[in-house]
């Protein structure tokens, strides 16, 4: 890697280094590429023990290998990656080599590692008892950490490295050392964290594809492969190679750590890179292919065990959360509103995702459960959530203040937020909170420290941290993470709530259909009453009058009295029907609100009601300035007519009737009007009955009427959003108030 001056080198520069096509191998073995069909040599590393020029058949150079390669090609293993074929003694060299092969782009890549000491034979047979014991111990391990300790110990035993670490990646690819086995030669790294930039992204991908890497001697000189390009004109892809030369950055990193040999084995859980087993030796050290295979095998067993354990733990949690969820579902189904089902069972709401606090927020209400931020802060979170454009069903964070800086102020209660939207239309959310967990993290170097310039003044190069003193960081504003089953439980709750809301909506729709139908029936009924019931009363009145007028001579005094009574009774029944109909019409007719002049309306009604007043009565009107009102004029006219005719009716006995109409200063956004008279008044004990349908406070002989007028007044005023009330004293007059909302009045 030769970089020219780039002033903005940062640690992610490693992310761009193409390390899988590095074009060279480590010197502890040599590499050949062959055309898979003809077994003609295409490329060779410069350290091949015999001359192997491109274009030469393999048979001419290393005839011992031909049968081995043919067997490999005829019966390819179904596992990807370099495959150990066998140990071969090469006649031309007098040395023994372990041969591994893999396929790339129509080529066979052969890698031959010289066996250092021909006397040592670490065959799989020798490892079998060790592997058996290993599996036994894994089964007994109680925790992930214990599992990791066992695998670290066994790997170190097989490889005889000075130190073996088990290193786990977190979500952000920072690594933590979970377990360590060592002989004391190298320092302990247990519990240390290493920033994500230590293992760049393409290295992680390589680790996923090629599970085991080894560097026997960090001071090696890389051996180039010749020619550089394959017959198809590509650089050779070495991602599956076991001899692949590593990045100079990595070698420098190793030297910094004081380690000259290293080996790492990938831990893949569900095909994802879970972590690494990382082995180091202070001095250079070779590990036989056999031993490496054993380590790979061991690690795979370990990974399976790990995966089973994590699945088990998740399944257990899912089961527990599922029970909570089933209970909540039952509670919600029992209530008219799902919110009540949740509010009444706060413990289950919190247990669903193991949160100490929750909130249910709708457009108009905010209900808090357990330990939560203040209502205003929850509202702020809600507003922020509602403004998120992505339509995610669930929002999860362990560090709310990273997303919303204002959340810093309530980090002690809500660093973690899990939220589900249960109605987009009405912007309803259920939120769960987790408090901040202040942790101290020990880093193997400062993770936020940028790359340093080579103090020797050489070309700008990345220098992995020279010093590995522990750098401590206090992590703030973060909560414990939300687990997958917890997030899923929240999602499931969302689905249930949506289902319930939908069902309720359907029920409401059918109810409203039902109501509309019964309303229609009622209308038909009142129509028929209006036509059919009115007519007989009219006829009774009409015929009785004819009887009285035309046949009076044939009637006795008593008979005439009877007829008179029939007329009165039938007339009041007919009037009653009329009033009832108009009352029902008031409820059914649409409001048609327009602004208008109140004084003009009062004057018009006053003239109308005065027509029925005998001319000898003395009535003094005191009408104030009434301004404008915003109402349905037809209906408001009825209100005023009822009030004025009542005032006239109940002042009938007064030598001078005084009727005052006025407007009070507006209050609570309402215009307040009143009609006051000096009539007979009423006993305040009965004030509640005044506005009821058919409620009368006077005997019919005293004051005629059906008892529906004030009921109509109240109904109309309430339909306008106003209020009515009355004050009175027996014998000392009455005052009737009504209000109308001010909105729109000025138009």
């Amino acid at each position: 890697m030769s970089r020219t001056e780039t002033p903005s080198i940062d640690l992610t520069a490693c992310d761009r280094e193409p390390i899988h096509i590095v074009g060279s191998v480590q010197p502890h073995g040599f590499l050949l590429t062959l055309d898979a069909a003809s077994l003609v040599i295409a490329q060779a590393s410069e350290n091949a023990p015999v001359p192997a020029p491109p274009g030469t058949p393999l048979d001419d150079v290393l005839p011992e290998l031909v049968a081995v390669v043919r067997r490999y090609l005829d019966d390819p293993p179904n596992e990807a990656g370099a495959h150990y074929l066998r140990t071969v003694a090469l006649a031309g060299t007098g040395r023994r080599y372990e041969v591994a092969a893999h396929r790339v782009d129509g080529l066979v890549v052969l890698e031959l590692e010289e066996i250092a000491d021909a006397g040592v034979e670490d065959g799989l047979d020798a490892l079998t008892p060790r592997l058996r014991a290993f599996v036994q111990r894994l089964r007994l391990a109680r925790s992930t950490e214990e599992l990791c300790a066992i695998v670290a110990e066994d790997i170190r035993h097989i490889t005889e490295f000075d130190r073996a670490l088990v290193y786990r990646f977190d979500r952000d690819w920072h690594g933590t050392v979970l377990a360590e086995s060592g002989n004391g030669v190298l320092p302990s790294y247990l519990d240390l964290r290493f920033p994500a930039s230590d293992i760049p992204v393409q290295a992680r991908e390589l680790y996923r594809r090629n599970r085991l890497r080894i560097i026997p001697d960090a001071s090696y000189r890389a051996v180039p492969i010749r020619p550089v390009l394959t017959p198809t004109g590509q650089p050779l892809d070495l991602s599956q190679s076991v001899l692949r030369s590593v990045s100079p950055v990595h070698v420098e990193y190793m030297r910094n750590m004081g380690t000259m040999a290293s080996m790492s084995v990938s831990i893949l859980v569900d095909d994802k890179l879970w972590g690494l087993i990382s082995c180091h030796n202070r001095d250079p050290r070779r590990v036989s292919l056999q031993a490496r295979n054993a380590c790979d095998f061991l690690t795979q067993i370990f990974a399976l065990q790990l995966s089973a354990r994590e699945r088990g733990a998740q399944a257990e949690q899912r089961l527990a959360l599922g029970a909570v969820q089933a209970r909540l579902l039952g509670f919600m189904a029992e209530e008219d509103s799902f919110v009540d089902g949740l509010i009444k069972h706060p413990d289950d709401v919190m247990a669903l995702v193991n949160a100490p606090g929750a909130a249910i927020v709708t457009g108009d209400r905010c209900r808090l459960i357990g330990d939560t931020p203040a209502e205003a802060d929850v509202r702020a979170l809600y507003d922020w959530l509602s403004n998120q454009t992505d339509e995610a069903e669930v929002f999860v964070t362990e560090s709310m203040s990273e997303r919303l800086p204002a959340a810093r102020s309530f980090a002690d209660r809500a660093s973690g937020l899990l939220a589900i939207s249960v109605s987009k239309k009405y912007a309803s959310y259920i939120l769960w909170f987790r408090p901040e967990v202040v942790r101290t993290v020990k880093w193997g170097g400062n993770p936020v420290k940028p790359a340093t310039v080579d103090p020797a003044g050489g070309p700008d190069r990345l220098h992995p941290r020279k010093s590995f003193e522990i750098w401590k960081e206090t992590v703030q504003g973060r909560s414990l993470p939300w687990s997958v089953p917890e997030v899923e439980a929240a999602k499931d709750l969302r689905t249930s709530v949506l289902g319930i809301v939908l069902r309720r909506a359907e029920e409401l729709a059918s109810l409203s259909e039902e109501l509309q139908r019964s309303n229609k029936e009622l209308e038909a009924f009142s129509y028929s009453v209006s036509h059919d019931l009115r007519a007989p009363f009219r006829h009774i009145v009409g015929y009785s009058n004819l009887l009285k007028n035309r046949e009076a001579a044939n009637l006795s005094e008593k008979g005439r009295h009877y007829v008179e009574t029939i007329i009165e009774a039938a007339f009041s029944a007919g009037t009653l029907v009329d009033n009832l109909l108009s009352f029902s019409q008031m409820g059914r007719n649409a409001l048609n609100r327009v602004p208008g002049d109140m004084n003009a309306l009062i004057e018009e009604v006053r003239r109308k009601v005065m027509r029925d007043v005998p001319p000898e009565r003395v009535v003094r009107w005191e009408i104030g300035s009434l301004g404008r009102a915003y109402a349905d004029p037809f209906m408001l006219r009825l209100v005023v007519e009822n009030l004025l005719s009542n005032a006239l009716k109940y002042t009938r006995g007064r030598p001078e009737a005084v009727i005052e109409i006025g407007r009070l200063p507006p209050k609570d956004g309402e215009a307040v009007f009143f009609v006051r008279d000096n009539g007979v008044g009423f006993d305040m004990a009965y004030v509640d009955k005044l506005f009821g349908v058919f409620q009368r406070l006077h005997r019919v002989e005293e004051f005629e009427g059906t008892g529906i007028g004030l009921a109509n007044v109240r109904r109309i005023v309430e339909r306008h959003g106003g209020r009515t009330w009355a004050e009175g004293e027996l014998g000392a007059g009455a005052t009737f108030h009504f209000t109308l909302p001010l909105r729109g009045e000025a138009h």
């Binding site: 009142s526 129509y527 209006s530 036509h531 059919d532 009115r534 007519a535 009363f537 009219r538 006829h539 009145v541 009409g542 015929y543 009785s544 009058n545 004819l546 007329i567 039938a570 007339f571 007919g574 009037t575 009329d578 109909l581 108009s582 019409q585 007719n589």
Partner: protein
């Protein structure tokens, strides 16, 4: 005067007929009062069909029309009369028990000349009917006759 135009009363209820006639009599109108008991009969009269085939070519001074009628109801009669250029100048007054808003609105939409809800009180009823009769049969000036040969000539 080429003969007073008749008043057409369309009403199915015999009580109402009797009371209305009593009121009109009390008003001392000279006009003939023709009574039809349902909407179909009323249309026969207007168009001189069936039992009225031979009657004099003369539109009524006013049709006093009830809403609820057997066979063809009041609104249908109104729609027919007001929808036909030949008859739409005949004044039609709905005379009914119904104060249902939809009926009132519908009647005006169809071109009714007046809508009267029969009052329950006797004096009010008598007065209303007499005034109606006087107004439409005497005071109201119908549009000029545009001529043409009598169709039954």
């Amino acid at each position: 005067m080429a003969g007073l135009k008749p008043i057409l009363l369309v009403e199915d209820n015999p009580n109402d007929i009797e009371l209305t006639l009593a009121a009109l009599e009390a008003g001392q109108l000279a006009n003939e009062i023709v009574i039809c008991r349902d909407g179909a009969e009323a249309l026969d009269f207007v168009y001189r069909r069936g039992p009225y085939e031979g009657r004099t070519v003369q539109d009524p001074a006013v049709i006093l029309l009830d809403l609820k009628l057997p066979k063809v109801d009041g609104l249908e009669v109104l729609a027919k009369v007001k929808g036909d250029p030949q008859t739409r100048t005949i004044p039609v007054v709905m005379l009914t028990s119904s104060r249902e808003e939809t009926d009132v609105v519908r009647s005006y939409d169809l071109g009714v000349n007046a809508f009267v809800v029969k009052p329950v009180g006797f004096n009010e009823f008598f007065k209303a009917i007499q005034e109606l009769g006087v107004f439409w049969a005497v005071l109201n000036e119908p549009p000029p006759h545009r001529g043409g040969w009598p169709s039954n000539a």
